[in-house]
């Protein structure tokens, strides 16, 4: 399956799962909203130009927004993490240039520790910005702090489960033809 087709299917799947599974979960506490959809942006290939990465982030967030009737909320957060993503990858990737040898970020391509850091930083960034925008319209500082921490913890748990269930086998590509 080509990378493009795979990502188109992922786009639809992530949105549908977020809207019809995770948002349907009865709320446990006001701080906990299970978010997983942004994993799509974390899984995008390495070789995407930054311009298209930002655009995809925007469109992806906006399509979720249309389901929740909050145009701009998730779009803003997704654009932010899509824009910041290349900087984090450049910092974390090792000298061997695994961004040339593998297609997309994963445990195999980056290694456990760098990949975990990458996920944690972007998840935290996404939730902080999202809850910050919510906080602008209503809420208090404790709401902001509590929700960012609780939601990040839940999201990391969901991402861990997803990574274990859907193990992505990244092929090693060499340019020695």
């Amino acid at each position: 399956m080509s990378v493009l087709l795979k990502n188109i299917i992922r786009f639809a799947l992530f949105i549908l799962i977020q809207v019809f599974v995770l948002f349907k979960v009865p709320p446990l506490h006001r701080f906990i909203t299970p978010y997983l959809y942004f994993l799509f942006i974390l899984w995008l290939p390495f070789n995407l130009p930054r311009f298209s990465l930002t655009t995809i982030g925007f469109l992806f967030g906006l399509s979720l927004d249309y389901f929740t009737n909050t145009p701009g909320l998730h779009a803003a957060a997704c654009t932010l993490i899509a824009y910041v993503r290349p900087f984090i990858i450049n910092l974390l990737i090792s000298q061997e240039g695994s961004d040339k040898n593998y297609t997309s970020p994963s445990i195999t391509s980056m290694g456990w520790a760098p990949y975990a850091t990458y996920v944690v930083v972007l998840t935290f960034l996404h939730h902080s910005y999202l809850v910050f925008l919510e906080w602008m319209s209503f809420g208090s500082f404790w709401y902001f702090l509590g929700k960012v921490i609780a939601t990040t913890a839940v999201s990391l748990l969901l991402i861990l489960v997803t990574e274990l269930l859907f193990y992505r086998n990244e092929k090693f590509r060499t340019n020695t033809v």
């Binding site: 906006l62 927004d65 389901f67 909050t70 145009p71 701009g72 654009t79 209503f138 809420g139 709401y143």
Partner: protein, 284 residues
Amino acid sequence: MRNVFLFIRRYFNFLFFLVLQVVALSFLFRYNKFHEAAFLTVATEVTGGFNKKYNNVEYYFQLKKTNDSLAKDNVRMHQLLKENYEAPGNEKKLIVDTVKIDSLKKIQKYYFMDAKVVGSTTALQTNYITIHRGAAQNVKPNMGVVSSQGIVGTVVNVSQNYATVMSLLHRQYKVVVKLKNNNDRGTIEWDGLSPLFVTLKDIPKSVKVTKGDTVLTSPTSSLFPANIMVGTVYEVVDDKTSNFYTLKIRPSTNFFNLEYVYVIENQQYDEQKKLEDSTRKKFQ
């Protein structure tokens, strides 16, 4: 000029990112006034379609509960039938003014229309409900929505065949209600804490309120007919710093398994609104 172009080229990605952020934030903060800006009407039609497909499956799991609530509603309606109220003697015969009921249908202020709920959320801070009835079926923004159990929300946006309803569980939703016992009016809001409770404010402390008191819609709200169930008082929070109560209300509507709702059209809404607006303008 050349430097400007060089600057743009150098920081193109950053500038593009800023532009997208500005677009997203303007969608977000101008949402209430600029529905068209985000193509929301078109999008509602599309997301409504998806919601309908999902609901086709989900509907079967709720059939039992839906049946129960419809049966209860039927019983309530039967209780209201005129035939149930029969007095034994001649002198106490119930006389109904037929002129008012039949030939002068125009005095009916509120029309009820049924609608199927196809999508809803309760997990967010801004919860909306999507119903399968839109502009083509006479739904307009600012119509009240109730279920057989109590009030649900207000229509905020319509497309051809779908409409989105801002539910009681929305941080910006407000509705005027009254206490059944003494007709004191207050405002219902949601504090975003738990989807099981909403708050009632502006009830003065001179009023006697006890746990379990009934809250009904007020005749001053132009969206709902008077005396529709809203909920019951769950807790009376005595705020020492204020002259008003903060009441914790348990809404009578179960937002987790809504299947059918009634959209209420106020025939005189536009007229009333126009009058009120022009009065405000006159004395500004």
